[in-house]
């Protein structure tokens, strides 16, 4: 009986570690926030779109998002000033610098501080619109 218990315990520990190692690592709220702004900075708006929550993605298609996002200002840089992560929700304060723009007749970059809400959905952390 004792031998059986030791076998079971060893197997459980082995399986737990192995399964954890095999499963894809879920991105943290900070990583998703970085992906959101870095992709926007690189004008890879298809990736930016994947960061939004399912509610937003239900309303706006990827192609439509990309075409509209291209009309808006380009992110030059960003700085996460604060990130407060709870169990299923997170709040961040981010300073965004938008590049100068001919379309917007802006000769200097524009800086704005924004609050971002994140929620944890079944496929990980997402930007809540």
């Amino acid at each position: 009986m004792k031998k059986y218990l030791i076998y079971m315990l060893t197997l459980s520990v082995f399986l737990t570690f192995n399964l954890a190692g095999c499963s894809p690592q879920e991105q943290t709220s900070r990583e998703v926030l970085d992906k959101y702004f870095t992709s926007a900075q690189q004008q890879d708006y298809a990736t930016t779109y994947t960061c939004y929550d399912s509610e937003y993605q239900k309303k706006v298609t990827k192609d439509e998002f990309i075409s509209h996002r291209k009309e808006a200002s380009v992110v030059q840089s960003y700085k996460v000033l604060q990130l407060d992560t709870q169990k299923d929700a997170a709040k961040a304060t981010v300073e965004i610098t938008f590049a100068s723009s001919t379309k917007f007749k802006r000769t200097e970059p524009a800086i704005v501080k924004v609050n971002e809400d994140l929620i944890k959905q079944k496929d990980g952390w997402k930007i809540k619109v």
Binding site: Y52, V60, E64, F65, H68, A72, I96, F104, V112, V114
Partner: protein
């Protein structure tokens, strides 16, 4: 005993004959009258056993497929439909001589029995956008159809007294937490002076800022902020045509009495590129305008002179008189484009066709209960031919619009000669309420009427009533009332 048995048997047979006869009449295909289907508005499932009454003695019952038919003489009818588990509702229709009129019903589930959240609150707040959608441009460097412009309304009720809506002794503030600086993503203010609008950045053409204090409205029933210059872009660049405003009501000592959130729909999804090309649709539009009308818009633009469409085309949306002899903007657009909706495959395949110019296949301006019930833009506004002929016949765009009373019974019609957006509740169970509450306060703005398919619309009923229906529970406004029927 035998006599009694025979009598009973005969009575039974007679009843059976009558029932069979009546059901035969009901199910027989009729050629003059009314027929249609009855469905669940959410699932589209057929509803059997619904009773449809024409206001007299003629009734029909929907069959297993939801079909019903009523044999009627020519005339006007108000059909009332009722079935267990669903809201009782009415529709008006007209039957022409020798014709069959189709009237379909989409029924909404009966109200829930949830605890009304407002019951534990001192004040209720209703907030809505006036039109359900405003249009905005991505680029103002070629011409201006409409500037960034949105309008929000608020009404406030103290739940613990019997007085009407509050319009004094309070301050009503609005802010858009995600839209604090429109200049980040629009070039409107760079070009505004060229259109004659000398307004500072982030101030609308009426002088209204992106956040501020609302003013008492013209009817002294609530508060309004007219011409808020928001765009569909959040500060971080997200395209969100249903951005929310936070409303905060405070007393004279700056104590917060109530807060609420409300969507302020605005979209840049005009899709001119569907016909005018993706390279530079604005320039293509100016070129075609010059070619058809002998104007010099392209040269003017190149020389730095920009034009609003309403300089020549009158536009009631802006109160612009236009030039004598030139069609109004609404007439010019519908008349010129009415036979060009198949110019490109994209335009031809855009459904509904209105979404080639009005926002839009993603924005889904038409999203309220009418859309849920299967109605399209054309069901209320008519197609482009009808739009054209009605405007040519003298109809004033923006000032004379479709009426609820065209389909709904007299209990739900607008005030006389008044648009839905300006009408007030006039058949309350408590007469003091008449003329106090705007229709849109309980039913939301046109195009986004509760229950809306867009969750962004439902913040007010969700907060105060605990569901996404129109405001139906009197407890939302009154601590001591239990009625659940507003229109008597």
């Amino acid at each position: 005993m035998l006599k009694t048995k025979v009598s009973l048997l005969l009575s039974f047979m007679l009843s059976l004959a009558i029932v069979v006869c009546l059901s035969t009449i009901a199910s027989a295909a009729i050629t003059t009258g009314i027929s249609g289907t009855v469905k669940d508005i959410n699932t589209g499932a057929a509803i059997a056993g619904a009773t449809i009454n024409d206001g007299s003695r003629t009734t029909a019952t929907s069959d297993a497929s939801g079909n019903y038919s009523l044999s009627e003489a020519a005339g006007s009818y108000t059909l009332k439909i009722s079935v267990s588990g669903y809201q009782t509702t009415s529709l008006v229709c007209t039957v022409a001589s020798g014709a069959l009129t189709n009237v379909n019903f989409s029924l909404t589930k009966a109200y829930g029995t949830q605890t009304i959240p407002a019951a534990s609150m001192g004040y209720s707040v209703f907030a809505w956008n006036d039109l359900g959608m405003h249009c905005d441009q991505n680029d103002y460097s070629y011409f201006s159809v409409l500037p960034p412009f949105n309008t929000l309304h608020v009404q406030i009720k103290n739940r613990n007294n019997t007085s009407g809506m509050i319009t004094s002794g309070v301050n009503v503030a609005y802010t858009f937490p995600k839209k604090t600086n429109s200049t980040l993503h629009t070039n409107f203010w760079q070009f505004a002076p060229k259109y004659g609008w000398n307004v500072p950045a982030n101030i609308g053409i009426t002088g209204t800022p992106l956040s501020g204090t609302m003013q008492v409205d013209a009817k002294n029933l609530g508060f309004v902020a007219t011409g808020i210059p928001i765009t569909p872009y959040d500060d971080d660049g997200t395209w969100d045509p249903y951005g929310a405003a936070n409303i905060t009501v405070t007393d004279t000592n700056n104590n917060i009495l109530q807060t609420a959130a409300v969507a302020a729909p605005v979209s840049t999804e005009m899709n001119c590129q569907n016909c005018h090309g993706t390279t530079n649709p604005q320039l293509d539009i100016l070129q075609k305008h010059d070619s058809h009308n002998g104007t010099t818009l392209v040269t003017d633009q190149a020389n730095g002179t920009l034009h609003q469409c309403s300089e020549c085309h009158s536009d009631n949306a802006l109160g612009a008189p236009g030039k004598t002899g030139v069609e109004s903007l609404s007439l010019a657009m519908h008349n010129f484009h009415k036979d060009k909706m198949t110019t490109t495959t994209v335009a031809a395949n855009t459904t509904p066709g209105c979404y080639n110019c009005h926002p839009g296949t993603n924005t889904q301006c038409l999203r309220g209960i009418m859309e849920k019930a299967g109605k399209t833009c054309v069901d209320c506004h008519g197609d482009m031919n009808k739009m054209t002929t009605s405007l040519q016949g003298g109809r004033q765009a923006w000032l004379q619009e479709p009426k609820c009373a065209d389909c709904h019974d007299s209990k739900h019609q607008e005030n006389a000669n008044t648009l839905y957006r300006n009408s007030t509740f006039n058949n309350s169970p408590i007469s003091v309420m008449n003329g106090e509450l705007y229709c849109e306060a309980c039913h939301n703005s046109t195009h986004g009427e509760f229950k809306s398919t867009n969750s962004a619309d439902a913040s007010i009923p969700q907060k105060f009533q605990g569901d996404d229906y129109w405001i139906w529970n009197c407890k939302v406004c009154h601590a001591n009332k239990t009625q659940k029927a507003m229109h008597t």
